[in-house]
Subunit: 402 residues, 2 copies
């Protein structure tokens, strides 16, 4: 029995998998299709933005010095030279003692360096504008290049493209971009006792929860799940489907039955493939001891525990961080009760989130870890590190949403 | 000019839109396709789970009373009756003084009511097992129906289906479910100065950022965006495209140019359609005053400000909460500096999130709100309510991730 020859710590396991994780391929997409995707190129400011000095208010464009000293009782008198229309170039050149109307977003005419808001002005006949308040140079306008300068480094590779980033790229006229392709991830459930979910399990059989939960988890990480039929505890059958799945995917998730035998067969199958290397077998984690990772050439196989609760937890703590592209997945919570933990392993405890007095609380779900319903109740889980002997009620700790 | 006849507060605006929000249609999907979707039915426990009493450890199934009083120095002697195999029905009936081997997850044989872990036992020859520790009835096993009881209400409609929920439904043998269809949302940019993003804007023109940013935002809310060509400030042209988009979508997002005229034309077009009703025009919100909502029969049209920063912020605070299905979008942050706010309007301030000493900090981006780069820098925004006159550095406040 190839049983847990050397159990590794959580950090080591993640580091080993990360080191050998498949390289993401790159594809070129239109900006409209790139939402939520991972940028695969540098973005350099292609031009100045705004491309001209523009007003940020409705009012009159002036030379600031012409407004100096003006007040309610002693306004400045400026010659009105017409208006700059929205969406049109400013054709009027403004000289000393002159002004012209510019709407919000409109282009500042040559010769002007400030905007006086319409609220602080009055029109006197056709030709004269009274200015009741001084403005400084640059006031109420946005200078050319103030938002983005040409040649400036804007985004680095591996940035997740959110709506505001898509909008920002659009404002720069960037229409297509290089992004990383999502991983294709094969999912294989193994075990003599596993039956498809639409079959009524005979006594002693269990439904194939893992294919469904893991496919959903893969999908929610932005990767593409590919499911395979359940495989029984048989070397040849397992090898055939593993080779096919490795051919079709970047990463393979296998979840073993609870029987010890299937884990051995899985390892035998994987290590019989030329170019394979066992990264680890056995994790000092609760739940999820019987986890393994094997590199097969440039692909990665992760063997998860057969029990669905453990399988999904291990996926969330080992695979999600490497697959997921958004960082908004951790929150700080106050733990509502003491949680015991054994030093010498990393504990992961599902919690329910509750908000009270503007504080986010994490109520641990300490029931039997075998209950399927536990995971479905959980909003997040907290991590009690290797060295730590539990945590006290009221402590703040990071919770991972899941 | 139909300008802000009655400016409404943020809460009122959301309530009005919510009241008339289109009804979601229902579709039936296979469980594997339902990740992240919104459940549209009740889920009732179809059967007991587990369907039999099962062991949660490797060891011997016993009658608990037979182990009472046993200890390291004085073990109980039980007759070994064979083993229950994983994935098989327990055929052995256990009488007083007997036991049998059951693996983790295996079925408890009739007559037994507890499991003794293998660590606390010793095998003596072929027929006798020594028990070194007493167990109570029910110890180390999961009772039939302990996870789910038949007829129990499990999920209610409008629950978002996460991987663990998909797994839970799979464990119940539920293979297809009713979920709500995603909304189809049309997006129309209007304004004489707006040009497609792949065209180099002439002076005074601006690129069509809103179509891109809003389509991405709609997509990230789990809805289906449908974009239309830019429309100029013309009643007939706008009406034609609005009618087409209303036909093809549940909801319509229109973003007006910065010119005042286009907003009037938009309202005229919408109110010229039989069955339309103006819900509000003008919001006491910074940014985003020129927002409007019109119900057109069972569809909803929301007019957003022309400025991209305002348009995306208003989408995030008005539309996202009604469209988004996951609740993991709010975190509590400590504000790093004082933020002034004018009572009598709701302020929304973009912030950068930073973690320090296990505390999540929100650093407000107080630059010029016109900068496109601001939104792309922001991780979240905070809401300063209507009545409040700013917030002090160090206060805890809810931030909405976006």
């Amino acid at each position: 029995m190839t049983e847990f020859l050397k159990v590794v710590k959580y950090d080591e396991a993640v580091a080993k998998i990360k080191q050998h994780f498949p390289v993401r391929r790159i594809e070129r997409l239109s900006l409209l299709s790139a939402s939520g995707r991972l940028l695969a190129q540098d973005i350099i400011g292609p031009e100045d933005l705004p491309s001209f000095d523009r007003s940020t208010v409705d009012g009159y464009a002036v030379r600031a010095e012409d407004s100096f000293g003006s007040s309610e009782s002693l306004p400045a008198y400026l010659d009105y030279q017409g208006e700059v229309k929205m969406g049109e170039a400013a054709g009027i050149k403004i000289e000393k003692g002159q002004c012209c109307w510019v709407p919000t977003g409109g282009m500042m005419p040559p010769g002007t360096d400030a905007m006086v808001m319409v609220e602080y002005t009055e029109r006197l006949g056709d030709d004269t504008i009274l200015i009741y308040r001084p403005v400084g140079p640059g006031e109420n306008l946005m200078l050319k290049g103030e938002d983005v300068k040409r040649g400036q480094s804007l985004f680095k590779p591996r940035k997740v493209l959110r709506p505001q980033d898509i909008g920002f790229l659009a404002s720069l006229g960037i229409n297509t971009i290089d992004v990383y392709q999502p991983y294709k991830i094969g999912i294989i459930s193994t075990g003599d006792e596993i039956v498809p979910i639409d079959i009524n399990p005979a006594v002693g059989q269990v439904r194939d929860v893992n294919t469904h939960a893991l496919a959903s988890a893969v999908y929610c990480c932005g990767s593409i799940p590919c499911t395979y039929p359940i495989v029984k505890d048989d070397f040849q059958a397992l090898k055939a489907i593993v080779l096919k799945a490795l051919e079709e995917n970047d990463i393979l998730l296998m979840s073993g039955g609870s029987s010890v035998g299937i884990m051995d067969v899985t390892i035998d199958v994987l290590l019989s493939i030329p170019g394979s290397e066992l990264l680890f077998h056995g994790l000092a984690i609760k739940p999820g001891k019987p986890t393994l990772a094997v590199r097969v050439n440039e692909k990665m196989v992760i063997g998860l525990p057969g029990h669905p609760v453990s399988a999904l937890m291990i996926f969330s703590i080992i695979c999600s961080p490497l697959l997921k592209t958004d960082s908004s997945q951790r929150v700080t919570v106050k733990v509502t009760q003491n949680i015991a933990s054994q030093p010498g392993r990393d504990d992961f405890v599902p919690v329910v989130l509750e908000e009270k007095d503007h504080q986010l609380l994490g109520r641990p779900l300490l029931g039997k870890s075998g209950l399927m319903s536990i995971l479905s109740l959980a909003d997040a889980f907290i991590h009690i590190p290797y060295e730590q002997q539990g945590i006290l009620a009221g402590s703040s700790i990071t919770a991972w949403l899941f």
